[in-house]
Amino acid sequence: MSKRLNDILDILNSIESWEDFLKWKRELPGQFNALRKEMEATQFKYQRSSKEKNIIYSLLNKTSQDLNHAVKTLKLQAEELSTLLSAIPAFVYFKNMDHTYRLVNKTFEDYLGVKMEQIKGKTIRDLLPEYDSRAYEEKENRVLETGEPIYNLEEVIIKNKRKVWLSTNLAPVKNINNEVIGLVGVSYNITERKKHEIELKKAKELAEEGTKAKSEFLANVSHEIRTPMYGIIGMSEILAQTQLNDEQRQHLQAIENSAGSLLSLINDVLDFSKIEAGRLDLEIIDFNLRDVLKDVENILITRSDEKGLEFKIVADDSIPEFLRGDPYRLKQIILNLTNNAVKFTEKGHVHIFIHQDGEDEDEITLKFEVKDTGIGISRRGKRLLFKEFSQIDTSTTRKYGGTGLGLSISKRLTEMMGGKIGVESRLGKGSTFWFTAKFEKTKTPEKSLWPMEQKDKKDFLAKIEEDLSVLLVEDNLINQKIARFNLEKVGYKVEVANNGKEAVAKFRNGAYDLILMDILMPVMNGIKAAEKIRAIEAERNLKDNTRKHIPIVALTANAMKRDREACLAAGMDAYISKPFKQQQLVELLTKLIQE
């Protein structure tokens, strides 16, 4: 505007004559009009500014109030946060991107005995020079790089030569643009806990070792006890077949009963200690379920008949004949449950039902139910039922006997077979014990090869009922006596070798139809002896161009899979559990030859 005024003044000053005035006359109104507009604009600006000033002042005043309020609120929050942080019995710290401390809580200060001001800007290396913090700083880097938190990071720091265990949570701190600008860490001192853990672990290991040692001892002792037990039972049976008067017969019956109870008790203890020691392995072999059920029936039918109970086994037709699993342990579970049922049922029946309870591509699940009309079980009783060494009450023990291990062993066995066990029962209303077990499917059961010539087989079958010449290899005199008695009773000719070495010598010089071979023997064991015998046989066959094969049957108690494999590898053909009856042997041999 002042420029415009100066222009006008210049024009006015330049006017010296009428001619000059006329010359500028046209120009001046335009200049004055422009000046008017500029004055109006200036005036507007002035008015507007003074009017707007009040509003802007008010807005700024409000803003300043808002800011003051916000600052106060923040301060209060900061104080509250600080109180909260110092109350936390853990080290809380904020760190910058370069790992330097930005803020720590009072617990942190107190632990290091240093004030915040001296911690700020320092790194953990500055504060704890003894501690090799590289691994920990790498974790911090990961949080800073990925923006992801890390929880329960355990680290051991060293301060004044003492180890301190910390459990740390690290989380990124982000700015408003979601960029990581540092991290917050919370470390709990878990040194005491760690010490307890270590002590606890040691104590647990000691306890486990002790338990294992005890179980092993029990297993060994039980095994040792079993051998003479077989002697007692075997000799009792032999005795029973001699001339006895009634009183003697009654006494003998008592011996047999006691021995039987003792044996089953020892078997339970042996199983249980094997389970405890983790040494019980399941067999995985092809077997015929119907055979297993037949055995169960044979064993129990006599006892249930004696008590006047109806006994039957009902298996669904849909269940395949052959399965893969452990038939011996399966039989053990069924027998255990069914024995109990017979034991606790005074009248009525004991029924076993078997049906399919699931199937997939490779496996089949069977459910076995043993229903009785016996005394039943109370609710409290059911809770105790499957626990070790528990019988429902001591009066039961007195009346019915038993170790209280049977059901807990069955429970462990079903679990090993991928199944469950349970009971439904009401006091006085009978019980249904059930269990499930998984079996692999199989179509072609394993067959034992009996590489004997057809003519030899025929001869063998002809003699099998009463005329076999048997070489019995057994070191235990009582077992020798029992076996010899059982075999000779049906007409077999029996020759005894006291160990493997004697057996090899007798085989070399004699002619036998069958060898029964104990496994554990002094001088030379059964495996070694079988190998030697087969070697001699092969040499002879080569020389004579024959294919002779003498059946060798291993005599063993509860043979495990690896034992059996060792027997077969050594050239034996089958095995039979001690003590065996002659009839069992005949069945075994017939089956083997005919297959």
């Binding site: 600006k45 509003i55 807005l59 808002d66």
Partner: protein, 381 residues
């Protein structure tokens, strides 16, 4: 496309100008008429009815006309500003829509549907009458049928800042709670535009705690009317007039949208805004940064014409709050536009503008200088 524009302060002058301009060589079929409610809209209509033209009419908060003549003032009150257009009748159509009893969105949807039925690729000029209209919903309603890319320009009619009632009209009827729309065939007609504001946020962030559509009930849990009065230190009667100059700036996803107060409900202590203010949104007050904002607008205008060139018909929708804040200085924006375009400009001071963003999508604004430049496309037919 032939365009002639003028301004008249009296009905008599309007009659004279029309007689003078319309002859055998120039027979316009479309007229853009922006008139003050004080000059008498019915009287204006009486004059226009004599000519066989479609009329796009709106009441104003001040009229704009500039054709480079030294005598031309550029900004007028109590007048009528007119652009007469002669163009191929097959390239456009016009309709007045009644919006009574329906939402602004539904009104917009009616316009969109109508335009889409006439042209495959329509473009719109829209003026909306009625205090309390939601300009944002009008745009969204049109886009419902035509899509985000459709060119839409226009403004909310004014009533010389009385905030009582605003109007739109065609050659037959004046209506409130209504919209008048021209639809162009954008395959034949080019529509381009610019929207620039320069308003800046001031003060602390606040939260809209209760709102529905374009009505805001509470801000930071206090009645919206009270918040405005307290913060601006103004009296009850100063609203909405002064409030228009200090719109809320809505901050969302890094974008800032201005929403000006166009109405007050004193019973409810609520404020009616020209566009939607979502509940829960973060807002601040905003203001013009000072008279320098004109320099900012002028630079944007120059840049726009340098980049896109000129056209035959220029219509300006400028926010009435800019006029209030910048007073006589606002003429500089209009002069700059004329100098760059070399074509006459008509338009009006609005209560809200619809224009094109840099990404070519159209939106509803407040506090902007919004220009639309229309010309025939240079294609052989």
């Amino acid at each position: 496309m032939k365009v002639k524009a003028f301004s008249a302060s009296l009905i008599h002058t309007l009659e004279q100008k029309l007689e003078e301009l319309i002859d055998d060589d120039f027979s316009p079929n479309l007229a853009f008429v922006f008139a003050s409610v004080d000059i008498g809209l019915e009287k204006v209509l009486e004059v226009l009815k004599k000519y066989p033209m479609l009329v796009f009419g709106a009441s104003t908060c001040g009229e704009i006309f500039f054709d480079g003549n030294r005598e031309t003032e550029g900004i007028y009150n109590n007048s009528v500003a007119v652009s007469l257009v002669e163009m191929n009748r097959e390239h456009f159509d016009l309709k007045l829509f009644d919006g009574k009893g329906i939402s602004s969105f539904d009104l917009g949807a009616k316009i969109g549907l109508w335009g889409k039925e006439i042209f495959d690729v329509p473009g719109f000029l829209v003026a909306v009458g009625g205090i309390g209209s939601n300009g944002q919903e009008i745009v969204e309603g049109i886009q419902k049928h035509t899509g985000r890319e459709t060119p839409i320009f226009g403004g909310l009619a004014g009533d010389d800042s009385k905030f009582e009632q605003t109007f739109v009209f065609n050659s037959k009827k004046v209506m409130t709670h209504a919209a008048v729309a021209v639809v162009f065939d954008t395959e034949k007609i080019d529509m381009k535009g610019l929207a620039t504001s320069g308003w800046v946020g001031i003060g602390s962030d606040k939260t809209v705690t209760k709102a529905k559509g374009n009505i805001v009930y509470t801000i930071d849990d206090e009645p919206a009317l009270k918040v405005y009065k307290d913060h601006l230190n103004i009296r009850d009667k100063d609203l909405p007039e002064i409030g228009v100059e200090y719109p809320l700036m809505i901050k969302k996803d890094g974008k800032e949208i201005l929403r000006a107060v166009n109405g007050v409900n004193r019973e409810e202590q609520s404020l009616v805004f020209a566009g939607t203010v979502p509940e829960g949104s973060t807002v601040t007050f905003s203001t013009s940064p000072g008279f320098e904002v004109v320099d900012h607008t002028k630079a944007d205008i120059s840049d726009f014409f340098d980049r896109y060139g000129s056209g035959s018909l220029l219509i300006l929708f400028s926010c009435m709050a800019r006029h209030k804040a910048l007073g006589p200085i606002i003429i500089e924006e209009i002069l700059t536009a004329f100098e760059k375009a070399k074509a006459p400009i008509t338009g009006f001071f609005t209560l809200g503008e619809i224009g094109m963003m840099a990404d070519k999508s159209c939106e509803f604004f407040n506090e902007t200088f919004t220009l639309v430049v229309i010309s025939e496309k240079n294609i052989k037919n």
